[in-house]
């Protein structure tokens, strides 16, 4: 039966250990069992002191993060290490893909997008209806597969004194049914504000067209994409393709940083589903503050200059 450990499957991109792996490791710690990390070879940025055991697979990352291959890897790991109590993945494109396929293969319970754990009841919190409510799930058999929401558990990681044992899982054959070909960067060229994760959006309140280059500078420095409200387009300060709102584009970025946008209803309709809305406006009564998660009442252009200075200086 269960061998009393948590197996964390690493997410690796272009040789780098993704930061959201800290959340899977963090949940592993909260579960109170030794944590083993499963990863391919040649990965940079792993802090092995966070782990109790490291299991290395002789495969490149494109082969490793393949749901068909993952099943064969897990079969091997379960054989050599015993069956874990929990198998944890990041709740990401590949993490969720591998977890679903593996849970289906092993007929194992799976809760995805876990953002909380209740020690007393042993239940996992999973968001429903875009975080409007949460379901607490209990697993009825083992091993339980979980995918973990980024940002949820990273503060729980702890460091060991000594480096963990590193073991090899051995060679893994690629899968016939699915093969990795290459990475593709999303096509550049025309700006698509609907695809951006971080939008810096400006409104009429910035004052004049002359201010636009400084906002472009800030967006570049913060690696944000610049968008705007309708009056900015009407005044030809920015092109139509940058417009957010009912008569422009509907966007759902991770962060929507609204600078000098008062928040007309038609604008709100285009951005209200952003994960995090930060509004900066000089008017404390601006309607956008009703929709924002964070608000700052300030002289927007002054704060912009300070941000450019800080970001570029760091």
């Amino acid at each position: 039966m269960s061998a009393g450990y948590v197996l964390v499957v690493a997410e690796v991109r272009r040789g780098l250990f993704e930061e959201r792996n800290l959340d899977t490791i963090g949940l592993g710690r909260e579960l109170g069992l030794p944590v083993s990390l499963l990863l391919p070879e040649n990965v940079n940025g792993v802090d092995e002191l966070l782990l109790d055991r490291v299991l290395k697979v002789s495969a490149d990352e494109g082969t490793f993060l393949n749901p068909l291959v993952m099943v064969s890897i897990l079969v091997k790991v379960f054989e050599s290490q015993g069956q874990p109590d929990f198998v944890l993945f990041t709740h990401s494109s590949s993490g969720a893909e591998c977890a679903a396929y593996a849970a289906g293969h092993f007929s194992a319970p799976l809760v995805t997008d876990v953002s909380g754990f209740d020690q007393s009841t042993g239940t996992f919190f999973k968001s429903y209806y875009s975080d409007k409510v949460f379901a607490q799930f209990k697993s009825t058999s083992s091993p339980t597969f979980l995918t973990v929401r980024s940002g949820s558990f990273r503060e729980n990681v702890t460091r060991n004194q000594a480096a963990p044992a590193v073991e090899s899982v051995g060679d893994i054959a690629p899968a016939e049914g699915r093969t990795f070909l290459e990475y593709v960067e999303e096509a550049g060229g025309a700006v698509d504000i609907t695809k951006a994760e971080f939008l810096l959006s400006v409104g009429r309140g910035i004052g004049s067209k002359d201010e636009i280059p400084r906002y472009e500078e800030l967006a570049r420095a913060m690696r944000a994409v610049l968008s705007c409200s309708r009056p900015v387009v009407d005044k030809l300060w920015l092109p139509k393709e940058r417009q957010v709102g009912t008569s422009g584009k509907t966007v759902k970025p991770k962060v929507y940083l609204a600078m000098a946008i008062s928040g007309a209803f038609q604008h709100i309709a285009g951005m209200k589903d952003a994960d995090c809305i930060i509004a900066i406006n000089k008017d404390p009564e601006a309607p956008i503050f009703q929709y924002a998660h964070f608000g700052i009442v300030a002289d927007v252009n002054k704060l912009r200059d300070k941000l450019i200075e800080t970001v570029k200086g760091s």
Binding site: R230, P231, V233, T246, S247, A264, F265, A269
Partner: protein, 361 residues
């Protein structure tokens, strides 16, 4: 089909001559009718420029009804499923939530929270007079004040009225003009069923767009459909509603297309303003039948035009400034929304007529 009169067109060009989109945009209504006569292909984006102001149809000497030709063209695109994304969103929202912005239907009566008395549901009223809210006035914080103001005026004058609350569905005026005939029919059926169920005897509308479709496109209702300005004019004349003092600003009145040129209600809003101001409002050079469209009708509130052209609302605001007006008054929520952007810019304000009235009661 509403395009059967196209063959009667003699290409006089009166339609294009009076079109608020002609010249500045690629939209040429005479050319579209011409192409339709020969059943030639019409570029897919073009029909969406029409604001449904109806001036072409009113002026056409051969009764060709060019605005209906546009609706037919849009219908064909809709049945093909090829329409601009923002229009598609508005239609899908209306199907699900009964308003083009996709706001929850459960919140349709939230505007009533802004007033300090309770408005009964229509079923609880004796006179069965329905105040029809309209989508933008139910949900847009800027426009929510309009139903609240009119409710206050009616209440002060002792007029009994009720609302449908979350049972109210979009009237469908814009939906029909966007070419979604099936959806318009569904909305109409739903509203008709409620009018019948509650024995409504009179509908007081706030938006000229709702009034227009109730009057002309809901069939023989046997129900009086009024714009609130008609009701309030009567109340002022009878003395049921008394004003205290005057609104002391220079006000110019902008005629909404759906109230003025399409339904000949020119004098009522002016009468309301004259009472509030103590003198007649200022007039634009293009007024009454010749009023310049604000470009908010016929789905234009939702259409993502590819290039930005000078907006008619800017032309309006410029003229208002030149004549020394401090306030542009109008009586349509779409006009308010469109005029307000450039007006705020230039430091003059836009008020719906009821907003001026409540300041002097």
């Amino acid at each position: 089909m509403n395009s059967e009169r196209v063959l009667a067109c003699m290409q006089c060009g009166k339609c294009t001559g009076s079109c608020p989109e002609a010249g500045k945009t690629p939209f040429n209504i005479r050319m579209i009718v011409r192409k339709k006569q020969f059943e030639r292909a019409i570029e897919e984006g073009l029909p969406w420029y029409c604001t449904s102001c109806n001036t072409c149809t009113i002026r056409c000497p051969r009764d060709v009804k060019p605005s209906e030709v546009i609706i037919d063209l849009r219908s064909a695109l809709i049945e093909d499923g090829r329409i601009p994304a923002t229009i598609q969103k508005a239609l899908e929202n209306t199907f699900v939530q009964k308003n083009p912005w996709g706001k929850p239907r459960s919140k349709r009566a939230d505007w009533t929270e802004k007033i300090d008395f309770k408005i009964p549901h229509i079923s609880e009223t004796k006179e069965k007079r329905l105040l029809f809210t309209c989508c933008i006035q139910a949900y847009d914080p800027r426009c929510m004040v309009i139903p609240a103001n009119v409710s206050r005026l009616l209440r002060i004058a002792g007029i009994e009225f009720g609302i449908l609350g979350e049972e109210e569905a979009c009237c469908g005026n814009e939906i029909r003009r966007m070419g979604e005939a099936g959806l318009f029919e569904e909305l109409r059926e739903e509203n008709l069923a409620n009018l019948k169920k509650y024995g409504v005897k009179e509908i007081v509308t706030l938006s000229p767009h709702c009034m227009n479709t109730f009057r002309k496109e809901y069939g023989d209702l046997g129900i009086r459909v009024l714009h609130y300005s008609e009701v309030v004019k009567g109340l002022l004349e009878s003395g049921a509603l008394k004003l205290k003092g005057h609104y002391d600003k220079r006000v110019v009145y902008h005629d909404p297309c759906f109230l003025g040129k399409q339904n000949a209600i020119f004098d009522e809003p002016r009468a309301l303003l004259a009472k509030a101001l103590g003198s007649n409002p200022l007039e634009f050079s293009r007024m009454r039948e010749n009023s310049l469209c604000c470009e908010g009708g016929g789905g234009r509130m939702f259409f993502d035009v590819e290039t930005t052209y000078q907006r008619n609302s800017e032309v309006r605001v410029k003229e208002a400034l030149e004549m020394g007006a401090e306030v542009i008054a109008t009586s349509c929520p779409f006009c308010v929304m469109n005029l307000e952007d450039p007006a705020t810019e230039k430091g003059i304000s836009v008020k719906e007529v009821s907003e001026i009235l409540v300041e002097v009661i």
